[in-house]
Subunit: 433 residues, 2 copies
């Protein structure tokens, strides 16, 4: 582990007998100590918070979205502003997601356009009655309609790379196809192959853009005028719930990366683990994938934030996590406590002058009562979202930081059992608080 | 001017040849250097900001509303929380308005229930076609309907005092009748007399509540357990646009205060200047009133924030100001600059990477571009309101702080002409920025 590294990943300590580890991801805007939870700044803002408030939750990095920023305000504007971090005044590492998930979930109207009752079904085009599919995948890319105004757009691996380079985040995701658990096995197979072909095109475009934009290795604040910091591309592993497909997808991306590196080009600096994953086999799937991935590359698990899922994923070797759940839940008055979740809009909090959680030292918990937060929520005051968001991000960021500390102190399993035993004592809901 | 004073007002310096002055208001939660602009925290929150963000704008005190907090969450809850400052985590002086304005403007559906075209009219009950009046004044008080759920409520001077004592702000306003400029001269006369009778009942109730609640003089943080800090009541001067009524109202309140003080009771520690006031005679009306008020009591002008109005009112002897305009405007993307107001939703700001105002050192202006704020506003992101509110409060608080500095340096008129000449060069709208 070198002090001067600005790209790449180092393992600091392994969990004994497991894939999981504590490590450090290097970026031109600083290091990320892992495991780490990364708040989501979909549209170049972690909803309701200033960068100082985000930083105060303990967050080390934030993740924005290529799909959203392409539609609004446009990646060219973010580029002119000096990249997403400069645009939003965030002085630290940034990620962008590729848009792969969004064009297919939002574009296709996931949960809205898809039929809702699909239990046990396997069908490649399950659309709700009276709805039309809005995103279409072909070999070259995805054509979709904007969820904002219905206008038609097209993403390809090259388009996603161009957008993400313009956005200028430190860590980019390769453009992949999102499938659902309802797709047939045959479709998943052909999709994994297509995602592999797209990954190659992503690496190719990533290398060309890196050269064309004059991106170089080095700390962002020590680069010369006109030089941009090197961006790192993560290859995204798909394959749904199938062990052979997940392993094949991971191996394929590793080989592809090696092929580029052998040719003196940039490979994948890390990997994303994507796709719809069910709770019961999340640890299993992460394990399959991480078995195949090299230990010296970081692994980002996309879209997970339930405490039990995080413990399972860390144990199986995932390093970083992002999820909108803590921020979205907060705006509706849902807050985390060590005894599970509470909903502060509930009438029983009207004259409850205790903090959100006396054992959690978030700014919110240290300075406000449940009664005040209840009042703000009932009065639909903006500050409600801010204060609950600060609390939830603090809770989630510190949970993952504590997992890191536990790994370093050889007590991962002890901390896991203690935390989860208490958090889920009432099924994850705080009762009688 | 004593360091240990916790109630009252001291003049520090007078504007030569004018009523205006720089001074200090003492409260149990700290001093307020005047002239000062006081942000409005209607429902125990300056909308979108944490107390630290409010403090960082330079604000010394905030003003909440008895009407709103009575309806939601209820003054009893705020009382149990330790008062409005403790409830909202504000470590500084607080004001509450009496509800007099709100029960009559919101309760009566001001601008909604009142006929819109009333120019030149004089009529005591001008109601729009098809609307019903929702607030009724009688000698004893006002019966009104909640703007939230239409439920019927009744405020009297005693009720307002009870609510404001429960809310526990440092400075309270007497309960007064709000008239409009459309009321007849005869109605204004009888209203001023009624407001005077209500002022006596307010002082009576204020003294009884002060005793009953064990309120004593002293710094809030040095009081013994169970002791509450002394609250100061300001008498509110009405009288519309009539010089004789305004002077009579002011003199009446001064005499009333002296009567109580001579009897060894609490009088008015300061005065509020209320009522609908037209721009063109705002300075004139403040002058009439302040001619009659004693120099050793603070004067709060209710609901004013236009720069030219503030200069006119300060010159005429007003000390503190509150207004929702800077915060309300901000949430819609309206921001102040030294060259007038701008609306950041305007398309011309889409790729304008300059700060809001390069000469105004607000956190927002120092750290964000117009393009970023434009993006947040177009994307309807919560942070837009926060950042624009921070900027506007900083601008307004510093404008009034600069007026204070100018008074202390004997250049009030110089600063006024310089500021207003530039701000209104384009009619108060920033052009060509």
């Amino acid at each position: 582990m070198s002090e001067s590294k600005t790209v790449g990943f180092d393992v600091v300590k392994q969990i004994e007998g497991a894939r999981g580890r504590a490590g450090v991801i290097h970026t031109p805007h600083g290091d990320i100590a892992t495991p780490a939870f990364t708040p989501v700044a979909t549209k170049a803002t972690v909803k309701t918070l200033t960068p100082e408030q985000i930083r105060d939750t303990g967050a080390q990095a934030i993740l924005s979205n290529a799909y959203h920023l392409y539609l609004q305000p446009g990646e060219d504007i973010v580029d002119e502003a000096g990249g997403v971090a400069a645009f939003e005044n965030w002085r630290g590492p940034t990620y962008t997601d590729s848009g792969g998930f969004q064009v297919l979930s939002l574009g296709a109207g996931f949960k809205k356009t898809l039929a809702m009752d699909v239990s046990g079904l396997q069908k490649d085009d399950i659309v709700a009655d009276g709805k039309e599919r809005n995103a279409f995948v072909d070999e070259d890319g995805v054509t979709f309609r904007s969820h904002i105004d219905g206008s038609e757009h097209r993403f390809t691996p090259e388009v996603s790379m161009r957008i993400q380079h313009a956005l200028g985040a430190d860590i980019l995701m390769a453009f992949d196809e999102l499938t659902t658990l309802m797709n047939t096995r045959a479709y998943q197979e052909s999709s994994v192959e297509r995602t592999h072909r797209w990954a190659r095109r992503c690496l190719q475009a990533h290398n060309e853009l890196t050269d064309a934009r004059g991106q170089v290795d080095g700390h962002a604040d020590s680069l010369a005028d006109g030089q941009l910091p090197l961006q790192q591309l993560f290859g995204v592993v798909q394959g749904a719930q199938y062990e052979d497909l997940r392993r094949k997808a991971a191996r394929g991306l590793v080989e592809l990366s090696r092929e580029f590196e052998d040719a003196g080009k940039l490979g994948f600096h890390g990997f994303g683990i994507g796709g719809a994953i069910e709770k019961h086999n999340l640890g299993l799937i992460c394990g399959w994938v991480n078995d195949e991935l090299p230990d010296d590359r970081a692994r980002h698990l996309l879209g997970i934030s339930e405490p039990d899922d995080i413990f399972a994923a860390v144990e199986a070797g995932a390093d970083t996590f992002d999820c909108v759940a803590p921020t979205r839940l907060a705006r509706r008055g849902g807050v985390y406590t060590l005894d599970g979740r509470m909903t502060l809009t509930n009438a029983r909090f009207k004259r409850d002058f205790r903090p959100v959680d006396a054992e959690v030292d978030s700014y919110t918990s240290l300075n406000y009562s449940r009664a005040y937060l209840h009042h703000l929520l009932k009065a639909k005051e903006y500050l409600a979202g801010t204060l609950c968001t600060i609390h939830n991000l603090y809770f989630m960021v510190h949970l993952v930081d504590n997992i890191r500390a536990a790994i370093l102190e050889d007590r991962f399993y002890e901390y896991r059992d203690e935390f989860l035993g208490r958090y889920y004592a009432n099924g994850g809901r705080a009762v009688g608080n």
